[in-house]
């Protein structure tokens, strides 16, 4: 029952669709500094858990939850306490 299973995490691109509903730029191309281990890496390299309950992006190095995003019928819930900062390149000319 593959659609039900998220035991093997997908990479951060899997959350790209959900993130782009909220952000005006492609967040998966941004880099993020993990609050847990201070490693800087692309959002696309994060490991995604949470299945259909929400997108939990964990640091590929230390498993800290950097981004938590849930889309309920009432709206979006976003928690980025595990992400110290983001670096976003300006869009290409």
């Amino acid at each position: 029952m593959q659609p039900h299973t998220n035991d093997a995490p997908l990479d951060g691109n899997a959350a790209g669709g959900l993130l782009s509903e909220l952000f005006a730029f492609d967040v998966t191309t941004a880099s993020v500094i993990c609050e847990g281990c201070e490693t800087q890496g692309e959002v696309a390299q994060a490991r995604v858990y949470g299945g259909t309950m929400g997108a939990l992006l964990r640091c590929a190095h230390c498993d800290t939850v950097m981004i938590r995003l849930v889309h309920t019928p009432h709206g979006f819930w976003l928690d980025m306490r595990g992400a110290r900062s983001f670096f976003v390149k300006p869009p290409a000319e």
Partner: protein, 205 residues
């Protein structure tokens, strides 16, 4: 993982769905879907412990061996995941919260609310009234076998009358609190209580 319903072969056709056992918005499954908030831990049982805590201090702590020597409770029950699947007649074995309190020498629960703390920084909040009185257990066995890691083994909380995210996988500590506080999903828009029969999926439902 999928297990055919017992004696289905004898009847030759599916038994009718018992809709009085399926809460609103749920559908019946026969497999056991996996939903995790983080990677499956594989720590050796020699490093495992379980504790009842209050105010940051352990009231009582058990090693894996000590925990398995506690009185065992068997429970056959239906479970309901907020992602809309329900599974009937699941069979569990573990230690009831009542027996844990007794083994810790506590005549009464030391708070009205609890927070379950788990490997992988997962938490969930459950009122004591939904755990004591035979309502909840820390389960170590499923269908007669040690609970598989992807389903929360070696031990998970089991509170089957609430949505299944409350039955926290990989539980390590049950903390007693004086007031209700939101856990991991409850801070992210999921319902603070989570009664499937009231369809309390999200905050505001």
């Amino acid at each position: 993982m999928a297990q055919p319903p017992i004696s289905r072969g004898f009847r030759g056709r599916k038994p009718p769905v018992q809709s009085d056992r399926i809460p609103p918005g749920q559908h019946l499954v026969h497999d056991f879907p996996v939903l995790s908030a983080g990677p499956t831990p594989h720590a050796p049982l020699s490093e495992w412990s379980f504790s009842l805590d209050q105010g940051g201090k352990a009231l009582k702590e058990w090693s894996w061996e000590e925990f398995n020597a506690l009185p065992q409770t068997r429970l056959k029950t239906d479970i309901h995941c907020v992602t809309t699947w329900s599974k009937l007649d699941t069979q569990w074995r573990g230690v009831s919260i009542d027996d844990l309190l007794k083994a810790a020498g506590l005549a009464e629960p030391p708070g009205d609310f609890t927070m379950a703390h788990c490997d992988g920084d997962y938490t969930t909040n459950v009122p004591v009234d939904d755990l004591a009185g035979g309502k909840g257990m820390v389960a170590t066995h499923f269908e007669g076998e040690p609970l598989a890691p992807e389903h929360g083994g070696p031990a998970r909380l089991l509170v089957p009358h609430l949505y299944f995210w409350k039955s926290a996988k990989w539980i390590r500590t049950l903390e007693f609190l004086d007031s209700d506080e939101p856990g991991f999903w409850e801070q992210l828009g999921y319902h603070i209580y989570g009664d499937p029969w009231q369809e309390q999926r999200y905050a505001g439902d």
